[in-house]
Every structure is written in C-alpha cells, then in structure tokens.
C-alpha cells in the first residue's frame, strides 16, 4: 500500500508489513513500527483534534510522550482508553481510534463558538462572572461541565488485568538513548546489577531519529551492539515500553511497562500493564530533553510541529510531514531537521531569529546544501484552517520587540519550530533535587541532588552526542562504584563520534505579531489548555505573579502533558511581564507521574476478590451449605443468620433466639481474638492493661475485663482465663484482635521491657464452638467423658481441659447470652469435626445454629455491651455502669484520665436500657433521644440508641442507649423523634432479662 507522505526508503518501519487501521471512521494503511501519529502523517493527516477551550483545530505536534494536542480515544467498548497520545500509540492491525472534544464531528465542531467568543473568555474569566443570580451557578456550571473533559471513560469493567513487579538493583538507568545505554553498559561491566528502562518500543532514544554515526557506522548499529551485549549479561535487565513515572524517597522509583497495548490480539495470560517498583542503590537519569515551541501568532494550526519531531518522523518512520516546510528556529538543532528534509526532497526555508547563525556545524551544512536561510527573521504568524497554508515571515529588530521590515507570506504545508531544548529534569525534581537556572542557555538543569542520583546527557543539559556517550559512560561507572562495584582492568572508552560545533540559541520568548500589542491573534503557550501569551500577561497584570498562581489562574501546565513543553516559555513570559528574572518567578515543582498512569496499573491485582483478604473460619463451608447470610466483620465473614426456606431476617433471628433460650443453640465463635500470654510477669501485664485486678485469679478460672487507652476510654473487652499460674489465654473482640496484641506488645517493649511475659496470637490456631441454652450441659455430657460438668466441679467463669467428641479441647464456661454456655476450643483443623459432632448429638435437643444477629439480641436482653457499638471511643467504664470492674487501688492504663475535670464530672452520657411505649416499636439504631420533641429542628439531644432489637423472649422491643445523666434518670420517659412520628421511651436498667442470672446454670 502506498501512502502519499511515506518516503521511498529509510526509517525503522517494516515496509513489508502493511497494517490497516481506522481513525474517525476512515480506513488507512500504515506499517509495522509506526505510531498512530506517524501512520496518520504518512497519510497526510495532521488535523486530529480540537483544543480544550477554544476548540481550535489541532495537529500532531511532537513525536513523543510530551504530546499536548494529538489525544485520541483509543480502542473500543470496555477496552477504550481516553486521551491516548497518538504519538506513542503503536500501530497494530485493526487499531481503531477517534478524535475527542469535537461534536458532531472533528470537521464541523459546534464547540468552535467558544473560539468566536474568545475575547470574552480570557484566563480566569469564570472567577469574574456567572455570579448572578445567586442560584444561577448551578445552571452555568452544567453547561461548563458539558463542554469540559476530553475523552470518554469506558462504560464497563476493564476486561484486562494488571501486575506489579518489585525489583532491586545496584544501578537503575532511566532512558535508553546514547547517554543511558553508555551508562548501563559501563555499569554492567563492573558486575553491578543494572536495570535500564526506556519509554519506547526499542532502545536508542534520540539515535532512532538521528543520521549521525558512531565509531564510523550508523548510530543504530552501535545501539544494537550495546543492547545485544547487555541482553546477554545475567546482571542486566532491559525494559522497553517502560516509563519511569515517579521518584520517591530513599531511591524508590516507579515505572509503568505497557505489555499488550501494542498487540492486535493480546494473549489472555499477559497483563495489560505492569507497575515496576524499583529500589535502586544508585540512579542514572538519562531521559534526554524536550523541545520548546516558539510563541508566535497562530502557532497552533495543524501542520505546525516541533522541528525535532519532524526529523523523527522522517528518519525513524519514513514520513515527510509536508512538501513545503518553513523551519522557524532560534538555535542550531532545527538545521539538522531542515537538512534531512531537504535531502528527502522537501522544499525547505529556514527562518532563524539570530542575526548571524553562522559558526555552527549544522547551519554550515545547511548552507552547503543550498537551503534558503533567512537570518534575523522570524515566523510571526500563520494562515490556514484545518492545515497550515502559509507562514508569515518578517525581519525582527535587534531589540526583538517589533517587526522591522515588510511581512512576507510563504506558502507551505508545515511549519517546524524550535525554541531550544529543555533537559528532562522531571524525575530529578521529584527526587527532591534542586534545579539551577543556566542563564546562558536559558534552561533549567539539575543542581544539587538529594538522593543517590546523577543526571547525564541531554537530561543534564549536555546536548551533544559526544557528551552523551562520554558523560553517560562516566555516570555509569560512578554509579556502579557508589553502589560498591568497580571495573576491574582498564577503563572502558566511549566510542568515537565526530564532534559537532554549535552556537548558542537566542531566546525570543514571545515573537511579535502584526499587531504590536499581540491583541488580534493568539500566541499559544500551553497548547492543550489554550493558554496564550496574553493570558500570562493578564495574570501578571492582576497580581497572580508567583509561578503557582500563574499555573492555577491560567491553567498553564495543568493539562495531560503537565506543561512539558510549555513550562519554561510560561515562566519566561511571566518574568518579562512582571519585570523579573526567570529564577525569581520560580520553578514549578514537578510532581509524579511523569506521564499519566492508568488507575488499573496502580491497583494491580488488588481488585475483585483480592481487594482485601477474606478470613473464613474452619466451619465456613458448613455455614455456606446451611444457607447462612454472612456479615463482614473486619476481614472476617461471620454467619449473620441462617434463614430457613422462605424465612426473612426477623423471623430467622426470632427463631434462633428462641431456640437458645428454650433448648440449645450453637455459634461459631472462632473469630474472637485469642492471645496466649505466658511468663512470670503475666499477671503484672494483665493488671496494667485491664481496669480490674488480676492478682487473685486462680488457675482454671476466668475473668471479664475492660481495656482502656491512656485517654481512659474503653477500647476492648473480653474474658481472660488463667490456664496455669504463669499462663493465660486472653480473648478480644473479633475486630480488635490485631490492635490489642499490637498495643500490648508496644507497652511491653517500650515501657516495660523488663517484664518477663510473652504474647502470641493464637486466634487462627483454635476453632471455637459455643453451645448455649438450657440443654448445653446435656449435650456436652454426651460428647465429653473426661470433664466433670457439675456446677460445683465446673462453675461459671472457669475453664477445663479434656476431650470433646474425641478431640483435645479447652472448654470455657462463660456466657455472652445469659444462658448456660460452653465455649469449646479445639485445634483449628478439628473445628468442623467438632461442629458436626455437636450438630449430630444435638439433634434431639433441636440444636439450632445461630448467627451474630441472634447473638446480639441475646446479649442485649442481658445488657451486655458490644465495644464499638455501645461504645464509640468516648465512653469510660464508669459511663457503662461498670465501675465494679475498675480498680481503685492499682494503677492501670487510662486510670489517670478518668480523674480529669470533664471526665470525672457528673452528667456524662451513661448506658441505660430503653423500653418503648409500644412493645412492637423497634427504634432505629442511631436514633437520637430528647427531653421533649420540638416542632422543628434544632432540638437539644440527650443521647442516642446504641443497640435496638425486638426481643421475642420478652415479646417487647428492647434498646440500649447512652443518655446524658442516664442512670439518674431511670424511670423517666423521654422522646425519640423520628421522621414520621415521635416515640416515647422509658429509661430502664440495661438488664432486661433474668436479672438475677438464674439461667446461667441451666
């Protein structure tokens, strides 16, 4: 297939492999090795998008990841990606892409009305208007939002997956151009572990677009040799299509590898992208440089692009960006592009701002080829619609403030511009390194480094190939040495390269236009966000002088390219407008990521069922089979209730609650936190962490305790058993198991390192089956022969060891339901066996599995609290009416806080019971309690309902509540205002059922 702008030969594309693709509904042909941008240019397509604000036609401006204009909607359906840069999208068979930010079509876009109204909408116009009427903003904003945005998000779930890789190395080299490859090769020779990464699909960097020779042969031969050499080394990892995006503390770098986006049919097993997280001892930054646009009137038409990009399209992709081009420059580098295009048969005119652009090798070569050069001239404007048609050229006076001679019109189909090159200092800046301004060359270069990093080559402001190769080599050797690896034998030499003499550029930050005040035509600074030189001047005029104010007021540098090509121009224009020096205006802080990173890559594998670990008890499968509805408690899945056929939640819970009170229930309590505590000082520890006293607890007995943080507020509770004089088993709530252990360890290690006590989490080592109800003892008796279960031998709040259902077991006689109750701990792998044995033997008692909701009802009937539900981090043991569990004599964690003025004051919120006037009225949890409901808010609140259930045993709803001065108000009637009604409630003691505790013994 032939394409109009493809050269006859040359380039890195595979001419034998034609590839069909679709852009904006039109079919085109490209070649393997093309990007979407190069393939479109080969077909003569420059106009690919509309700008953000004014909807001006825009073309392809660069050949790299800094592209501000050519953003496309890439791919279809759930695999579509908005804002893909056409300049980095690799062409593959069947690729589909479309333009963005234009409606109904790119050609006839209604958004272009913004352009007509552009005089009304300068930078920051929205801060000054849309304020009337007061509620009008809602409507204006709707219109603004509708117009904003670029591409579209996919509608469905991403069908692809993403991986993460952790890597460590001695030397990480970012950038695989001449400097980076030199550095990597030198470092690798020392035996250091090296990773070298590059954004592109192949190594070579700027050499991919070069015609220069290295060691007398084409530069890419040298690249191929180095890459082969590195690939053979076991101490080197080569990564292409990998963009380093973040430089974090302590030499930690993040990179994104694009694994499958370039494939027509990606294999299922491959991730779409891989996030590399690299901890490097040393880093070599060799990311090259980014070309600066020139700021002249109408510098944004399709067909106007960077000179370096045009050279890249020609030499790398075999594409002529036009047939008649005008090259606008202020430096030598654009002459190389001009010469190469001239050699390819393109008619070229060079317009150089400098009066005497002689002395440099590149201009000399261009003169030698007979290329027209207009020195002391500038491109001061352009003409054209969807494609540039002409350049306006004029002589510029030495002061460069105005046009000196007549204006000539040059018909052309492309304008190439070069305002010099900015070293890519983004990662260096992210690393905390300070940037230095090089006044001579008008660039920011890496200054003092703060991490183990060095910049080299163009990234350090050394733009020549000789420098890249020699400095890169030195940087590689130094980095390896600093990482502890030295080259044995002779020092490697950089290959020979013909030196190129260059002469300095001449900055001209804003090229004057026909209108000396720059009023009529737009001089674009930030192309994506449509920020013009006039906008920068306006910001200066209004006092938005700091670089950060400039960015935020005008939005310059805030687009998807993050100002890669616009930043220095904007700074310079601000400096000029406010009469300051560029460094005085400041440098902006470069923030991660260097290029945009997909959310998917950052999330990696932590999605779907791997979003967070799921913890299941050994009996989980049984619960599933029994049809349990589960509740998330922390990471645990706990049976919430077990509905039988056709049963709703309330009916199931009522049935389960009744079964426990009437005969026998069974609960999986395996999730309760369990901490094994051993050592001669174990009691001392318990005395510190619990509010009550532990000196007298005998072996075989259990005790309930409350824990407070040092602020005196309850944060956990549970039963701890004394298994032996120096051996305890502590139970914590399910949700706090890890934090209680961590808290205890903290105190032990940091405050009481001399205590001889050791703590081990055994939560997952044991399965816990709780059987409770009047028939619990009978059931246990059938399963257990070696423990005397009589009340005298095995009283409430004690623990025994023996065998249950033939399994070694620890049996705790404790109760969270108020019933006779045994918690049986067996080794976790025996949990299901124990459960099944209980179910089988319990059948005659109608044994009923119950879930957490029934458990909550049962405990609420007894007034037992749940920490985190009946407490909220502001509740003391006294507030809970549990002063009996607070030792007056010993010190414990949190004790002093209980005596603080406000904490010890009367009238605090205290735990009470509530009975509604209507027995069936179940209050919503969280409902607020007032003295007397008022007609309307606000009304003073006295407290809130913490727990509320229907108690089938009492035939009445019950609730627990925290109420101001609650215990003194027991017997009073208060009100709970609800949206549709007000509910009257009587304050009661929190124990609703079996106040004397008779049922504990069965």
């Amino acid at each position: 297939m032939t394409t109009a702008f493809r050269t006859a030969k040359g380039g890195r594309i595979d001419r034998s492999q034609s590839i069909g693709f679709r852009f904006d509904g039109q079919n085109y042909w490209g070649n393997a090795g093309d990007t979407l941008a190069s393939a479109l240019l080969a077909n003569g397509v420059h106009f690919v998008g509309r700008s953000f604000k004014y909807h001006r036609p825009r073309g392809i401006m660069t050949a790299g990841s800094e592209e501000p204009n050519a953003l496309v909607q890439f791919g279809l359906g759930d695999r579509t990606e908005p804002n893909a840069r056409a300049t980095v999208v690799e062409l593959h068979e069947g690729l589909v892409a479309a333009s963005q930010n234009a409606w109904p079509t790119l050609g006839s876009d209604v958004g272009v009305v913004n352009s007509w109204a552009s005089r009304l909408i300068p930078a920051g116009f929205y801060y000054k208007t849309f304020m009337w009427p007061r509620f009008g903003w809602k409507f204006y904003e709707r219109a603004i939002r509708h117009a904003a945005g670029l591409g579209r998000a996919p509608e469905g779930k991403d069908p692809d997956h993403y991986d993460k890789m952790h890597a460590h190395c001695d030397v990480l080299v970012v950038g695989g151009g001449p400097a980076g490859l030199s550095a990597a090769r030198a470092a690798a020779m020392t035996g250091a572990r090296v990773i070298v990464m590059d954004e592109g699909p192949e190594f070579g960097g700027s050499l991919l677009s070069e015609t220069a020779e290295i060691a007398g042969r084409p530069a890419m031969d040298w690249v191929a040799g180095v890459v082969d050499e590195l690939a053979e080394r076991s101490n080197v990892r080569l990564l292409t299509r990998t963009s380093a995006v973040g430089y974090y503390d302590h030499n930690f770098l993040v990179a994104v590898e694009r694994v499958t986006d370039h494939l027509a049919a990606p294999p299922e097993h491959l991730p779409r992208q891989r996030l590399w997280k690299v901890r490097a001892k040393q880093v070599v930054l060799a990311q090259g440089a980014i070309e600066r646009p020139l700021v002249f009137a109408d510098n944004d038409r399709p067909g106007i692009m960077m000179a370096g990009a045009a050279r890249s399209y020609l030499n790398r992709y075999g594409v002529k960006v036009g047939n008649r081009v005008v090259v606008a420059t202020n430096n030598d580098s654009a002459y190389a592009a001009a010469a190469d295009l001239h050699d390819a048969g393109v008619a070229v005119t060079i317009v150089d701002i400098r009066d005497e652009p002689t002395g440099g090798d590149l201009p000399l070569a261009a003169f030698g080829k007979g290329i027209d050069v207009l020195s002391g001239h500038a491109v001061i404007g352009s003409d054209g619609g969807r494609r540039v048609e002409a350049a306006y050229v004029a002589q510029i006076s030495p002061s460069a403030k105005r046009i000196a001679g007549s204006i000539q019109r040059f018909e052309c189909d492309a304008i190439l511009m070069s305002g010099g090159w900015n070293p890519s200092v983004h990662l260096f800046s992210q690393s905390g390194g300070k940037l230095a301004y090089d006044r001579e060359r008008t660039i920011f270069i890496p200054g003092e480094t703060r991490q183990q990093a060095r910049s080299t080559g163009a990234a350090a402001g050394d733009f020549s190939l000789v420098d890249a190769l020699t400095d890169g080599l030195a940087a590689g050797l130094e980095a390896a040495a600093d990482a502890g690896h030295r080259k044995r034998g002779g020092r490697p030499q950089a290959p020979a390269v013909a030196p190129v003499i260059t002469v300095p550029l001449e900055p001209l930050w804003s090229v004057p236009g026909r209108d000396p005040r720059g009023r009529t035509n737009k001089h674009f600074v930030d192309f994506q966000n449509d920020v013009t030189a006039a906008d920068v001047a306006l910001a200066a005029r209004e006092g938005y002088l700091s670089v950060e104010h400039l960015k935020r007021y005008t939005t310059t540098g805030m687009g998807t390219d993050q100002g890669k090509s616009s930043n220095v121009n904007a700074l310079a224009l601000m400096a000029a407008a406010s009469g300051r020096d560029i460094p005085e205006v400041g440098t902006t802080t470069f923030r991660p990521p260097f290029v945009p990173v997909s959310f998917g890559a950052l999330a990696g594998r932590n999605v779907d069922h791997l979003a967070d670990p799921v913890r299941k008890t050994p009996m989980h499968r049984w619960h599933e089979t029994a049809g349990a509805v589960f509740e998330d408690v922390g990471q645990w899945k706990r049976p919430f209730y077990y509905p039988q056929r056709g049963e709703g939640k309330q009916a199931a819970v009522n049935r389960e609650v009744r079964a426990v009170r009437n005969s026998l229930g069974i609960l999986d309590a395996s999730t309760l936190g369990k901490i094994d505590i051993r050592g001669p000082d174990a009691r001392k520890l318990l005395n510190w962490v619990y509010t009550n006293a532990w000196n007298k607890l005998e072996a075989g007995r259990c005790r309930y305790g409350l824990m407070c943080h040092e602020d005196g507020m309850v944060f956990d509770d549970g039963v701890t058993a004394c298994l032996d004089e120096n051996h305890f088993l502590m139970h914590t709530t399910t949700g706090n198991a890890a934090s209680v252990l961590g808290w205890i360890e903290e105190w032990l290690q940091t405050e009481w390192p001399n205590l001889k006590v050791w703590c081990t989490s055994v939560t997952e080592q044991f399965a816990t089956v709780t059987i409770c109800g009047p028939n619990a003892r009978r059931l246990l008796g059938e399963l257990c022969g070696d423990i005397d279960l009589s009340s005298e031998a095995f009283p409430f709040m004690s623990v025994r060891e023996g065998h249950v259902a033939g399994l070694r077991a620890r049996v705790f006689r404790v109760s969270f339901t108020g019933e006779l109750s045994y918690e049986i701990n067996v080794s976790a792998d025996c949990g299901l066996a124990l459960w099944n044995a209980c179910m089988m033997a319990g059948e005659k008692f109608g044994i009923t599995p119950f879930g957490t909701e029934a458990m909550h009802v049962l405990r609420a009937e007894k007034g037992y609290i749940i920490v985190g539900q009946d407490t909220d981090g502001t509740v003391t043991p006294i507030d809970l009416g549990m002063g009996w569990a607070v030792s007056a004599t010993k010190d414990f964690l949190g004790k002093r806080s209980l005596a603080r003025a406000a904490t010890a004051a009367p009238g605090r919120k205290e735990l009470v019971g509530l009975m509604t006037e209507t027995p069936t009225d179940v209050l919503p949890e969280g409902a607020q309690i007032v003295e007397k409901a008022l007609e309307s808010a606000p009304m003073p609140m006295l407290g809130h309902v913490t727990s509320s259930y229907y108690s089938p045993n009492l035939g009445h709803s019950i609730a627990l509540a925290l109420v101001r001065d609650g215990r003194n108000r027991i017997g009073e009637t208060l009100e709970v205002p609800l949206p549709e009604r007000t509910c009257r409630v009587r304050l009661t003691d929190p124990v609703f059922f079996d106040k004397e505790g008779a049922r504990l013994d069965g």
Binding site: K138, E542, E548, P593, V597, A603, A902
Partner: protein, 420 residues
C-alpha cells in the same frame, strides 16, 4: 484606608474585552510591611485570609497584616479535594460546619468572586453493619441539628450515582449511604483569591514571601513577630498555618496536641462528565468527585508518619486505586495525571482548636486535620470574633486549647471520613 476597585461581572468582562483585557487592575496590592499592626495574622491560606476579611468587615479592625511565607493559598487551601459538607456528629462541630456551609452558599456574591460552590451533594457510603449504624446515628443527629441529610438504601445509592458498583458480590458491598445534598465542592484557589481581594479592598496588607521566624513576648503578652522581612510589632497575633502550627507554637514556647502528616490527593486526566456528585467511603478509604474541567479528584487516608514535606508515599495511592476499582470498575483505564501532598495537622479528637492561648494576645486556629477546607468561611468568621473580642464566638467556645486537659473532647473521627 480602603481601595476602590471595579466589581467583577459579565458587564465588566465585556467592557474589558473592548480594551483587550489590558485595563484590569491587580486583585490585591503587594505592600511592604508596616512597623506595626493592630492584628497580625500568620498564614495566608483560606482560613487566614477569611479571618482578615471578617475582622475588617465585621469588627472594624483595619490595621491588619496577613503574613504568608510563600504564596497565597499555597498550603492546604490549594492542595485539598475541595469537599464541603456539614454532616458532623457532635453538636459543637455540626453547628460550626453548618455555619460555614451557610456562608459558602452566599460566598461568591459576598466576595464578588466566583468560588464555584457547586452543591452537587456529598454521599457517604456504608459497607457493613457498623457503618450503617454510624451513618444512621450521624444523620439522625444532623436532622435534630437542622442539617440536611438523607439515608439511602442500596437502590437509592444506585439512583443517586448510577455508575457506582453496588454488586453484592463486591468484596465490601455498598449497603447504604447518607447524602447531604447541600454539600458539594468549590474552586479552592478562588476562595483564597476572593478573600484576599476582599480583604485587600478594605485595607488589609497581604504580604507574601514573609516568613515568621520568631515571636516577641513580654511579660506573658505578645508584642510582635520577627520575620524574614524584619520585626513587626502587633497588638494581637493570630496563627492559622495548618501543618506548621507546632512550629509557630514552639516560637511561643508552647506544645500543641498536634501531629503533622502528609495527606495526598490526585487528579485523573479530564474526561467527559460521568460523576455528578461527591462519593466518600471511610471504610474502603476513598473519596472522589469530578471537577468542572472533567478531572476526577481523589483522596484517601493520611500517611502514617509525621512530615513537613509536601509529598507522600506510593502505597497510599495504590490503596486509593484498589478501593476505587471496587466502587468504580469502569475507571480502570483512566489515568492519574498529577498527584501531590499537603501537610495536615491532626488533633487527638479530629476537631480543630480555635482558641486563645496561654500567651496574652496570641490566638491559634489549627488542628483541622484532613477537613479544614470546608470550614474556611466559618473558621475565619468565628476566629475573627475570637480575636476581636478576646473571647470565643458561641460556635467555637468548646474548641479550646484547654479541652485536652479537661478531657472535654469533641470526638469526630467517624465524621472526619479520613482515618487518622
């Protein structure tokens, strides 16, 4: 002294368009510091500038300087995710944030500067029974405090925000939510600029690039500050510097119940509108909205360690994204465009200190943690009152420095939405 300056409106825009916008005046002056001020406000963020504005406007104090060490709004004002709401749990906080919300509702007109307060609603999600209970409690307290709030079930969530994933198969399924429809977002920079312009017009000296390096205290009374631009005498000094509160307190010989932590936020590339509200989830740790430019604006929990660097660590970002994928699987192919960090001053009860200090004439406003932006107008309003009258406004009488001694805390960790 007051400065006469043209008002902003569509008419002034049109008039200036005729002169190519070359006649706009400075939004605020750039004065040199005077030797003495009645009140020096340390910190040129939203809170400090609002304080100056209300001091000048409502209390007749005109000899005021705002000292900013960098550029206006360069701290947390310009670094937050701009969420505004008032659905706090405790009476003391709810009334303060509600006061603020009411001021937001008229702020663009008050300042003649469009702060783009957009009442698109703020939805807080519940993912388990505990969340449901907490949201129920908070909403019901809001009702009785006269603050708008609604409880939604899963269907209601889906209706309010159709792109959210409410599948019960999700790791932490959405069980319900609250929504405050009067909540929303605003343009953060505009708030600082609007207050600065308003305060400047009333004669307040706003002095940028002026860092306070010391405090002059004589016989238990503050007499002025040392700065990088020389010593400045003052009758009263009010410090409102977010992350740097402890540093300023140390200059006055005080220690605060404050730790400074990094809080990160990020934006995606701009995309066409898909999310028309603010979605917050404290149990899966993410909050997200879409800006008027089309960027998704997201934030998460704070980094665990203290820091004065305006940057954080990667794992927090990875966590936000994993959580986001749970709620919005369709976002996976969108791209993070920029991320940044701020320094938040966390207090033990997740409530601020707006208080007189043990040094006479010294006032602190700090400890807003992750949620100070929403309070900007209210905070400035009551702080101005506190400074002018030397006693708290009824709305901040509980927000004292001394409450950490008495134990009378204003516990708001649940409502603050970001885990501290």
């Amino acid at each position: 002294m007051s400065v006469k300056r043209g008002a902003y409106s569509i008419w002034s825009l049109m008039r200036n368009a005729l002169s190519y916008h070359e006649n706009w005046q400075r939004a605020w002056r750039s004065p040199d510091p005077k030797p003495r001020y009645d009140v020096i406000i340390v910190g040129g963020g939203g809170h400090g500038l609002a304080t100056a504005y209300y001091l000048a406007k409502e209390h007749g104090v005109r000899n005021i300087a705002v000292l900013e060490k960098g550029w206006l709004g360069g701290g947390n004002t310009g670094r937050n995710t701009t969420i505004i709401r008032s659905n706090y749990l405790q009476d003391a906080s709810a009334s303060l944030y509600e006061h603020s919300l009411k001021l937001w509702e008229g702020l663009s007109q008050e300042l003649n500067f469009n702060v783009m307060f957009s009442q698109r609603g703020v939805m807080n999600l519940a993912h388990n029974e505990h969340d449901l209970r907490e949201l129920s409690r908070r909403t019901r307290a809001n009702w009785l405090n006269g603050i708008d709030s609604e409880l939604l079930d899963t269907t209601g969530v889906k209706r309010f925000c159709p792109i959210i994933n409410v599948s019960p198969e999700s790791r932490y399924p959405v069980l319900g939510a609250t929504v405050q429809r009067r909540g929303g977002t605003a343009r953060h920079d505009a708030v600082a600029w609007g207050y600065a312009r308003g305060a400047d017009a009333m004669g307040v000296d706003i002095i940028q690039q002026c860092e306070v390096t010391g405090m002059r205290i004589e016989k238990g009374r503050i007499t002025g500050v040392e700065t990088t631009r020389g010593a400045i005498a003052a009758g009263k000094v009010a410090v409102v510097v977010a992350g740097h509160a402890s540093v300023l307190a140390a200059m006055a010989g005080l220690r605060l119940p404050i730790e400074s932590h990094p809080l990160q936020a990020l934006v995606s590339e701009p995309i066409k509108p898909i999310l028309d509200t603010v979605v917050m989830s404290s149990s899966v740790h993410v909050y997200v909205s879409q800006s008027d430019k089309g960027e998704l604006v997201m934030g998460a929990g704070i980094d665990g360690y203290t820091s004065y660097a305006q940057r954080g660590s990667l794992p927090i970002i990875e966590e936000i994204m994993a959580s986001t994928m749970e709620l919005f699987p369709m976002f996976s192919r969108l791209k993070m465009m920029r991320k940044w960090g701020g320094i938040v001053d966390t207090s033990p009860d997740a409530s601020p200190i707006i208080s007189k200090m043990p040094v006479e004439g010294l006032y602190f406003n700090c400890g807003w943690g992750t949620g100070g932006f929403k309070a900007t107008p209210g905070s400035g309003h009551v702080f101005a009152h506190t400074i002018a009258r030397d006693r708290p406004h009824p709305l901040n009488q509980r927000h004292t420095f001394e409450r950490f001694q008495s134990g009378e805390l204003i516990e708001e960790h649940g409502a603050a939405a970001v885990a501290h």
